[in-house]
């Protein structure tokens, strides 16, 4: 029941057999295109032969250039829906030139501008000349569609020529094109038949036996208006009293069309006249439909006969299945239909019924509305809701809803909820809840027999409506930044879903996950997104299921699970590869997944591999990136440049990232401006970083929230760097104060990734104050947690202060594996390069971490058994440790060991 692309709308009209050839006009059009002008505009009122002259031009142009392709769209009012218009545009161009590479255009939904850009790129990549004709452009009033055509004009590839036919001048920058010599125009004065053309038409083509005077009288009376001359010719066919007719016509003041249509109709047998009048309510004519509307049979033959008699029917396909009346003729017929039996409403209702039977719901709705049968229209619109939403033709649905009286919508909760959703996407958050509440009470209302008192028909949509309402409430809460409300409504939606309602479960779990994430409850967030992924997969939406990898991996990183994050990216990329092979185009998230994996490899300090994945992401092209995640590529590249010691390049890339940033559904946890401030701090540009912190209203006494954690950790770095530059103020105490509170919050939330970074900064704060001993304690915890996950850049990006601290750690034998691995990556010559900072009398055989822990306890007042209890080990094991320590320190008593350890700075 999706709204199909009607090929009849894309049919290039053939040159009509009874048409006058118009070489003077064709030549003008040909010259215009040959001169490279962008636009041809045929602007004249109804009945001036606009379509005919364009189809003659197309036939002529194709004869001259067999390579030329013609794309033709006959527009109507429904094409004011931009999604629909773009759909026809793509189909028309693809039908005209099957070789056009439009995979990138149709592969993924994007903004109108993205779609157009991809379309223009595809056209620019082709060398085949193409003319795009937009007929009946006067029906286009919607700004987004006009914008789309303007955009096309502004970025028109040289192979494309655009031709518009319109009854009124289009609301496009026509004056600018005219002034720039980019416009070829045909107007009413050009299109009017000259006396010679009128003579040629009436005598040669229509075969009428008319004198030169008769022709001149008819031409003058119709003022060269082609529709008038055609009707006059039809009236004159097989008429005996030619001069009598012409005299009567010339002597009448009646409107030409009125006079002539009446003449033509009068000359038709009654069944033909009735057929013409009754079927004039239809925009498209086919045999079965006309049978249904007229209540007769044999309409197919009637239509064929009308075409033969040249009675203003226009074929819409090659197989003569669909026709339409010439617009002007149809309008005059409709004007005369009033007062006839059956009346207009009955005819429209019959048409609506036929369309509904044939599953063409959009047309069924249109005729129901024309019949003023709002109940019928409302029922049909409800039926169309799921398919219209899938095809994203929302503007169509909204236009319909606007035509329904509010009480009708109120009695149909399905429509009420859709209306609420439309307010939500329009950004009118305030309007959503009243509409949801109204729909909810309509849903709950019961009549005296206990049955539902609303009008919505039983459907899947209706059954899952309580879930939908709760999901939209969660969305409203999100739009308001109300995380608690978001969680409550999302949980309620999840509780209400039935096991089989995968999309409902996915949406609810998504909001639940986002709320948990933004509040820093990453365990719950990861769980919820696991549910989203599973639901999307069960619903068959593998591409969207893949895109849940990005928020999931972000949260895993917050939990310090670098390896799990890496695995989830690798698995997702494998899946993306399989989908890509199966469907020909990579799923939209593929590029984002490559970026995510690159970022993890960079953290592991494998910069060549990180760069390779960024390159792979770029090579996939624009369509393999979600709009919302595009900025991440530039951020990742900035991190690599920073790691390579090129902070200026990093800053430039962060600037580009800022321009690509789009506020999406995901919480903004690592704001780009804060990342910029971190680069400044690394460069010693503390003034700029301080100005940033002030502008963001950051203070070391802020209450810690997860949404500001990244900014607060940036502030801590700024305070530490400030203390190094100017120790007098004691900024390191502010930093430690802030870090202490951040640590408590992060530990409560079990966000071990955050905890590691906080402890690393605590170490740097102590070190900045010259307190190396106190620095080593949080550093050791951080290193020990980070080591098995393979963290590297987290430490290395802190530069020389961290390198110095790691040298102390090496000397003290702290977390030796981690220190050794990090030292291997520090240039030049690793940790030992610091010279004066080299460990005091390094040990040939360094102490293990466990041994160092034991040594610290040996330096205390604790007894042997107390120490064993403290370490949860047996006394025997403690003795083994002690023996090893004594051996490495080359001592043989506890006091000697403590003395030696103090001398070496190990305790």
């Amino acid at each position: 029941m999706a709204l199909p692309v009607l090929t009849t709308k894309l049919f290039v009209p053939a040159v009509r057999p009874h048409a006058v050839s118009r070489p003077r006009l064709i030549e003008k059009l040909r010259d215009g295109r040959r001169a490279g002008r962008k636009l041809t505009l045929v602007s004249a009122p109804a009945g001036f032969g606009k379509t005919s002259v364009l189809s003659e031009w197309m036939a002529d142009a194709r004869r001259r250039d067999p390579l030329l392709r013609v794309a033709w769209i006959s527009l109507d009012a429904a094409d004011n829906d931009p999604a629909r218009f773009l759909g026809y545009l793509i189909s028309a161009l693809q039908a005209a030139d099957p070789a056009l590479e439009l995979g990138a255009v149709t592969g993924q939904p994007g903004s109108d501008e993205q779609t157009l850009t991809a379309l223009i790129n595809a056209l620019a990549a082709s060398t085949t000349p193409i003319i795009l004709v937009l007929d009946d452009f006067q029906t286009i009033e919607a700004q987004p569609v006009r914008d789309a055509v303007s955009f096309l004009l502004d970025h028109q590839p040289p192979t494309l020529h655009l031709a518009l036919a319109s009854r009124s001048d289009p609301l496009l920058p026509v004056a600018r094109l005219r002034a720039g010599g980019q416009l070829t125009e045909l107007r009413a004065a050009d299109l009017r038949f000259t006396p010679a053309e009128a003579a040629g038409f009436l005598t040669e083509i229509m075969g009428l036996n008319l004198s030169a005077t008769d022709v001149a009288v008819l031409d003058a009376r119709t003022e060269g208006w082609i529709a008038g001359l055609q009707l006059a010719a039809l009236s004159l066919r097989e008429r005996d009293d030619v001069s009598g007719f012409i005299a009567g016509f010339a002597g009448s003041n009646r409107f030409v069309l009125d006079y002539l249509v009446e003449e033509v109709l009068q000359r038709q047998p009654a069944p033909v006249r009735d057929f013409l009048l009754r079927t004039s309510v239809l925009d498209g004519l086919n045999g079965a439909l006309c049978d249904a509307v007229t209540g007769l049979t044999g309409s197919s033959e009637m239509l064929a006969a009308l075409e033969r008699d040249n009675l203003f029917v226009v074929p819409l396909d090659d197989r003569r299945q669909w026709y339409r009346y010439h617009h002007l003729f149809a309008d005059v017929l409709r004007a005369r239909l009033t007062g006839q039996d059956p009346g207009l409403h009955v005819l429209h209702t019959r048409a609506s019924e036929w369309y509904e039977r044939n599953d063409l719901i959009e047309d069924a709705v249109r005729h129901a509305l024309a019949a003023d049968d709002v109940e019928r229209a409302a029922r049909l619109i409800e039926l169309a809701v799921p398919s219209v939403r899938l095809s994203r033709h929302d503007a169509t649905l909204l236009r319909w809803l606007a035509l329904l009286p509010p009480p009708v919508i109120r009695r149909r909760p399905v429509l009420g909820v859709y209306r609420a959703w439309s307010s939500l996407v329009a950004g009118d958050v305030e309007a959503v809840e009243p509409r949801l509440a109204a729909a909810e009470s309509a849903l709950a209302a019961r009549d005296e027999t206990g049955r539902p008192a609303h009008d919505s028909a039983p459907s899947e949509e209706l059954r899952t409506l309580p879930v939908t309402i709760a999901v939209y409430r969660a969305a409203v809460a999100q739009a308001r930044g109300d995380l608690a409300g978001m969680r409550t409504h999302a949980q309620r939606a999840l509780d209400l879903t039935e096991p089989g309602d995968h999309l409902g479960r996915g949406a609810a779990a998504g909001f639940l996950g986002l709320a948990a994430w933004a509040t820093g409850d990453l365990d719950a967030g990861v769980r919820a997104f696991g549910e989203v992924r599973a639901s999307l997969r069960r619903a068959g939406n593998l591409a969207d299921a893949l895109s849940t990898t990005i928020p999931t991996a972000d949260m895993l990183l917050g939990q310090g699970r670098l390896r799990d994050a890496q695995r989830s990216y690798e698995d997702a990329l494998g899946e993306a590869l399989r989908l890509s092979a199966a469907e020909g185009t990579p799923p939209q998230s593929t590029g984002d997944l490559e970026v995510g994996l690159s970022d993890i490899l960079r953290e592991q300090n494998d910069l060549p591999a990180a760069l390779a994945h960024l390159a792979a992401s770029e090579a996939l092209g624009e369509q393999a990136h979600s709009h919302e995640n595009r900025y991440r590529w530039f951020v990742s590249m900035a991190h690599i440049r920073q790691a390579q010691g090129d902070p200026e390049a990093a800053l430039e890339l962060l600037g580009t990232a800022e321009r690509h940033y789009r506020r999406g559904f995901l919480p903004e946890l690592r704001p780009i401006h804060a990342q910029t401030a971190r680069v400044w701090i690394s460069q010693g540009r503390l003034g700029e970083a301080t100005a940033w912190a002030r502008a963001r209203g950051l203070s070391s006494s802020d209450a810690p929230t997860y949404l500001r954690e990244f900014e607060h950790l940036t502030l801590a770095r700024l305070l530490i760097a400030g203390h190094r530059a100017d120790p007098g103020v004691g900024r390191h105490r502010q930093a430690l104060h802030l870090l202490g509170r951040l640590l408590a919050t992060a530990e409560t939330g079990r966000r071990w990734g955050s905890v590691t970074e906080i402890q690393l900064l605590q170490a740097l704060a102590h070190a900045a104050n010259g307190d190396t001993v106190r620095a080593l304690e949080p550093l050791e915890t951080a290193l020990r947690r980070a080591e098995p996950e393979g963290y590297c850049r987290l430490f290395l990006d802190e530069g020389e202060p961290m390198a110095a601290l790691l040298r102390h750690a090496a000397a003290a034998g702290i977390a030796p594996d981690a220190v050794r691995r990090l030292s291997g990556t520090l240039a030049p010559g690793g940790l030992q390069a610091g010279g004066s900072e080299a460990p005091v009398g390094g040990l040939a055989d360094p102490l293990s971490e466990r041994e160092r822990h034991v040594l610290r306890l040996l330096a205390s007042e604790l007894s042997g058994p107390d120490i064993a209890r403290e370490l949860y080990i047996s006394l025997n094991t403690l003795r083994t440790h002690t023996r090893h320590i004594f051996g490495k320190l080359d001592v043989n008593s506890r006091p000697a060991a403590v003395r030696r350890a103090e001398a070496l700075g190990l305790v």
Partner: protein
């Protein structure tokens, strides 16, 4: 600020050619009178600008030539 129109306002629209009264429904119930000079005058209430533009478009749709559009004083 654009001039405000009394609501609803009556308009008098003059077109080329004579139209019989059968066209009244097509023009949303406007009254048709013979202008006696080969023109027809359509008179009727217009609720707002959109309605006025709608009528003008219907005139264009059937290829009628528009001569003039004038507001007329509201009837008592």
């Amino acid at each position: 600020m654009p001039p405000r129109l009394a609501d609803p306002h009556r308009f008098e629209i003059r077109i080329q050619g004579q139209l019989d009264a059968g066209w009244s429904d097509w023009f949303d119930g406007f009254e048709l009178t013979d202008g006696r000079d080969g023109t027809t005058i359509l008179t009727g209430p217009v609720t707002d600008q959109a309605a006025l533009h709608g009528i003008l478009r219907r005139i264009g749709d059937v290829g009628l030539t528009l001569l003039s559009v004038n507001p007329t004083p509201s009837r008592p």
